[in-house]
Amino acid sequence: MEIGLGLWGMQTPALAPAAWSNVYQDVLEEAELADELGFAFFLTTEHHFWYDGYCPSVLVACAAVAARTRRIRLGTGMVLLPMHDPLQVVEAATVVDRLSGGRLVLGVSLGYRDVEFDAFGLERRERARRLTDGVALLRAAWGRDTVTFRGDVYHVDDAPGPLRPVQEELPVWIGAGSVAAVERAGRLGCPVLIPAVVPLERVVELGWRYREAARQANVPPDRCRLGVMRVVWVDETDAAARAYMVPLMRAMWLEQYAGWGLFLDERGRAIRGDRAALLEQHIDRAVAESYVGGPDTVRRGLAAIRDAGVDFVCCRIQTGAVRSAPLRRCMERLAQDVMPHV
């Protein structure tokens, strides 16, 4: 099982105010450390118009990371593809692929915040069609001198292609947490990354649906890779790890994801602050799905993921409010005390 790191959104939330420039400088140094320590990948994350500066331009950030690293795969977790012109994404992605010597992984997902779609003049309800068609267009354009594409949403006639990339095929991961989304990823033959809030038994079920959808679409099995995100934090002891990380994690779930409508009830309606008790239950469950503790605790957690048939895990050690010094210590412990045993 591959172990990578995420999710760098270059934020300065209320819990950790800082100058944005300092945050970006820290991220470049953290990427260099992740590179030295041998992690498989380093993921940045995109959102728009959030007060703390959540990075809206992940390929610009990835280009900077590419210039400062040598070996680690660098990727997006995720580009909110329905909000972008796929041809523009391909042009920027090709440049990052070239600058990194072929280390780019392009993660894409739907996006879900109304404000983001509305600011760009797009209808949120079109997002699934735009994602499916967008992935097809990304693949049709990658490495081509000219692009012609007739899709459900996008129509391109004999347009100039992007630069020639290093990687023959663009690796596209899809972020997906529902049955419909993993089945879509399976049909597209893309590796899938399941969010941190999804319990492990549900991950197993989604993994089965993902591979089955791929099989029915005649996608070769070796194109299917199941990935999962988990909030991870390693310290000397369980108590020390929990004392540091649990409050930061709860703050992230409450302020950010609850506010954005990530937690859904059984009818698919967003659970926000007006249903505080139910929201608290969901946050408790999200915290329970994290691996926060001493090296033994985290080793056991990651081993359980591996034994469930997961191919790669993105350890979310950056929740947005984690300072650079403890983050670097956690990365070192993860690399030295956990990764070799998993």
Binding site: A19, S21, Q25, P56, H84, D85, D118, E123, P160, A270
Partner: protein, 338 residues
Amino acid sequence: MRIGLGPMSPVAEAVGGEGWAPEATVDAAMLAEASGFDSVWFLDTDFGGSRSQAATALAGAAAARTRAVRLGVCPIVTRGHPLHAAEDVAVLDVISNGRVIACPASSSSSAGDAAGRFPEAVEILLHAWSGDAFSYDGRFYRVPARLPSNAGAVQVTKVAVTPLPAQTAVPVWLPGWIAEARPLAARLGMPLLGSPFASLAELVACHEPLRRPARERRIPLTVPVVREVCLAPTAAAAWALAESVLSRPYARYAERGLISAPAGDFKSLAADRFIVGDPLQCLAEIERYRAAIGLNYLICRFSVAAAAPARIAEVVDLFARTLVPHLRMVNPDVPAGS
């Protein structure tokens, strides 16, 4: 006078290969910084069968490998939503710790609409970088769109782009080669970036409307121009090099109507357009621009280096050693923030 290098753009190999390899642009930025240049420039392109919209990504890589040199970017703002361009430039300014000069450009793909879209897109950029939440109702753009199907739990009537640029006011220049940019520059008091394709007479026509009011109001004005610079120890070597590197791409530009010059005659093409010669001849040529339009920011488009990346150190080094010390002594009154 201030000195820049560029603008660099990685044009797809399929359409001629005269562009910069992405890897070479980062090396060029580091070299420019080490050689005392004020800025390096990155350009989105969308004309004549080549398209690359990755100037801010390239500049992001350069930002990560440099500390002082300014990063000029010419992103096309009319092809996608201008809010994306605003976000890209803001993130670049933060990564570079406040070193961006932005020169928003237009796209031939949006021809027809471009004349209307471009001024609106520029206004949206300025709102986005102001730090205030804003709404915008134009003919082409409505921000937020307030589409009924998007009405969620919270009805949003304004948006605020974050992160904000590191600079309290990102220097904004406008492209002199776009007709609709000229009245906008006059209205907003912004410098116009002179095109490498324009002759000296065309540059005079472009810059004069800005110079007169600036003179009358005694406001310092940045007068930036991009020129092909082909410098060699001897005039004969410089002209031979210029002709071998520039004649073919510029003939193509002329065929596409980007240049108003007689076809086939390199000397006529170069006159009033390229800076070619030994160091003294180049200085004299630059002085002509200073006298005619008040040039105080020369951006050197070293196509010679793009065509032969191994030679860039030699080209930049010769320029830095022989010309920069002289150029620093003339027109030193470039406004702050450039």
